[in-house]
Symmetry: C2
Subunit: 478 residues, 2 copies
């Protein structure tokens, strides 16, 4: 069947939910990884029935369907690499808070921050906070099991998903889990869907667990001579069973980027430093007590600190962390942004290796991360117009992934595989593990229509044509 | 091939790890549901290689393999209903605490309480506390996603599993997740294994997340006129965002059983009452503050309370809760112990229905439960020698399950399906959902050798021959 015939079948079923307008197709041809593949149609379903019709038809005709929210994925997971139809649920935004049960009932397109705002208005709290939280949708958060800054204390998206509603790739409506606090019936496909990157089913609605909002907060920015000193302090804190709500680490390269952008040092007397940004939250007395543990440790180990319990002042301490990522584009117009994880015993080795990589590749390797859970964002900065730099970046990336796995770590802690990590899946998992995953994919999606081409087909994204001119709503810092 | 030939093949591969001694076979022929099916052999592997050899051989020859820990399952999930070989991992008991990372590395046979003790010795805490915690193994906890009293605040087993090591039913070694705080690589088979009741793979080792041990605790036992009053107080507490570490509810029938056993009332002036047993834990200041909220609410709503922050005194407040379950055997020699869950909006309706069931069936329906997460243990007490009572118990059970599902609830919150709930799986899940679960089973276990006969084959356990004379180590209260 020609594309034209397929489209006419689609329009007959779904009418004005279907668009082939060039602007629409351009918008949904890529995600934040900027690897564009034009789909044949965009479908914005208005009802459950339309989602089902779309899947039944695609499954019958063998047309790829790529589900999508805001498109803030960093791995190309939402790029329709094999064309076909994009299923855009970003209009499904309803949020209802059950203030007695402490649950949020949300549609897949609800924006993460809107969920947290709705919860906070009723005294509850939805902790996962991916950095795109003002834009990203809960459907995408569920698809990638999105993390964020608060992971080490509060966990990630999966830890808050009680129930998922949606459709199998073959079109049957299903619910996994239940809007209940406990559920032990049948196999747990709920948590199989979470993190499956839209390859095993389409989530239309979710019920999320909420927790009471922490009463108070204390923020501290501390400067250390170098990465070694900062990471030693971290290891000591963790061993003292301090559980910060946030513990961000910035290496000297990242601090340097942020300082060059602002034109001044964060700590004038120590311009070259590695930073820790720590936040405690909870009951005021508990925060006070833990604060003393942190203060006494930092007094011994840090060069200098700034501290505050005032939310507005705290915002100023965040400047280095908030700006360093965009400031890195001074070092190259293109970034490989990895989200590796290593065990605490491997923190020092990883950071030493980022410096070795800088020497080996000649590229900047600024690194920051959620250090309480070992989730480091290692960046390789290069100019995509320079073939030698591209080759070095690719080499650096491969070496990094090998090192991470050798350290007992993970190639991805919060972004997922998508296209970006697909060449490294076999570093992380054995053949038997990957075969089991593929058998599950085949069992649920026998015609392979749902988000095909991801995870299991190695695709060197950095060699692909990328759209550096496309602007996303979250690009304003750039 | 005859059973004898199969056994000889097994012995050739696994030598003295194999036993066919009658005592051994009797021991592993049943679990706490007391539905015995004699296996052909017991295998106690001494190494990973032996686990693999067993599975490779069973898969090749099509012999059922039933994995097993202590056998404290209440659903018959560990009964080798189709015979074959029992894989007993209860000797695999190693526990290692990583006090810096806050993780426990454990073997499948490690006893839950031993894990918590090892963690506490280093200032850490493993919260899941199924009532069999002194006997049950972590492998069984993982297989059933075991809950416990602390679920509403601290979650269940799944919330603490970082990594699983083990074997696919086809014998390949696999690891799902990683001993890391974040992991987003590939499909999440870790959480698919958790709660899969040993049907999708054999877990040999796990890495568990630990949390810092709460510093202080406060316990309160409160008596209410009846269930309606007690549950109203609960709903109000939850709406005030009080998150107790424990909130146990006992209906008047359960309290009555416990009081008859001890020969005296817990509150002499109010012998007929429904009870709430509440525990707060955390920072002393936070506990103090929340305690005041609870006290003021109970002052208004409860008839009388007993309160303590002293661990030994607290133990005396636990008497009703600890003894009521065994005390129920005054009302009948046999118990159907259900573990249903309903949303908070359905608490009152469920409890009214247990009283209606008592009228309809003429059987006692004592009910207690973990009320902060809506997980109620509804019991039907009957004499198994009385066919009329047996019929009423079966009818009552069916009505209960229908009611629970009609209330938007779950047929099981912590025991799992096994044999006991298999007739009700299709009440809870649609045909499409069950078909998807079965396709996953077929994908991972194409020859159907691992714990066959459970979950998907309706089996009316209460009609089966049961071994009422078998004594388990956890039966000493009986």
């Amino acid at each position: 069947m020609t594309n034209k015939m397929l489209l006419s079948r689609l329009r007959r079923k779904l009418g004005d939910a279907v668009s082939t307008a060039p602007d629409d197709l351009a918008r949904v041809s890529l995600d934040s990884a900027r690897v564009p593949f034009r789909p044949d149609a965009l479908v914005r379903p208005k009802s459950d029935e339309q989602v089902q019709q779309l899947l039944l038809l695609a499954n019958k005709l063998g047309v790829p369907v790529t589900p999508r929210g805001a498109g803030s994925a960093t791995t190309g997971a939402a790029s329709p690499i094999h064309g076909g139809w994009v299923l855009d649920l970003s209009d499904w935004r309803k949020i209802r808070i059950d203030a007695t049960s402490g649950m949020a009932h949300v549609e897949a397109g609800a924006v993460t921050k809107a969920i947290n705002d709705a919860a906070e208005a009723k005294g509850w709290f939805y902790p996962p906070d991916p950095s795109s939280l003002k834009h990203c949708t809960i459907g995408g958060n569920i698809a990638t099991n999105a993390g964020g800054l608060r992971g080490a204390k509060y966990g990630v998206t999966r830890d808050y998903v009680l129930a998922l509603e949606g459709f199998l790739p073959t079109g049957e409506p299903v619910r996994w889990g239940a809007p209940l606090k406990k559920f032990a019936s049948g196999f747990n496909l709920r948590d199989l869907w979470v993190g499956a990157e839209g390859m095993l089913g389409v989530t239309t609605r979710a019920t999320l667990k909420l927790i009471p909002k922490p009463q108070s907060r204390w923020t501290c920015l501390a400067a250390f001579t170098n990465e070694t000193q900062a990471l030693r302090a971290v290891k000591q804190l963790l061993g003292l069973r301090v559980v910060p709500s946030i513990l961000e680490f910035l290496d000297r390269q990242s601090v340097d980027c942020a300082q060059r952008r602002r034109g001044a040092s964060f700590f004038p007397k120590t311009p070259a430093c590695s930073l820790l940004l720590l936040e405690l939250d909870g009951h005021p007395a508990a925060v006070r007590e833990t604060r003393q543990v942190v203060q006494s440790l930092f007094k011994e180990r840090a060069l200098v600190t700034k501290q505050t319990a005032d939310p507005e002042q705290a915002e100023t301490l965040w400047e280095a962390r908030r700006t360093c990522s965009q400031a890195m584009f001074q070092m190259g117009d293109t970034k490989l942004n990895e989200d590796v994880v290593v065990p605490v015993q491997g923190y020092q080795a990883l950071l030493r290796y980022t410096l070795e990589l800088r020497k080996l590749t000649g590229l900047a390797t600024p690194t920051f991360g959620h250090v309480a859970d070992g989730n480091f964002h290692v960046h390789l900065m290069y100019d995509h117009g320079d073939p030698a730099q591209c080759a070095q970046a690719e080499r650096g990336l491969e070496l990094l992934m090998e090192k991470v796995v050798a350290l007992g770590g993970a190639i991805t802690g919060e972004h997922g595989i998508g296209l970006a990590k697909s060449p490294f899946l076999s570093l992380q998992h054995t053949e038997a593990e990957i075969a089991a995953m593929k058998r599950i994919k085949d069992a649920l999606d026998p015609n392979g229509i749902l988000n095909p081409g991801k995870m299991f087909e190695p695709f060197r994204m950095w060699r692909a044509e990328r759209d550096y001119n496309w602007t996303f709503p979250w690009d304003h810092h750039r």
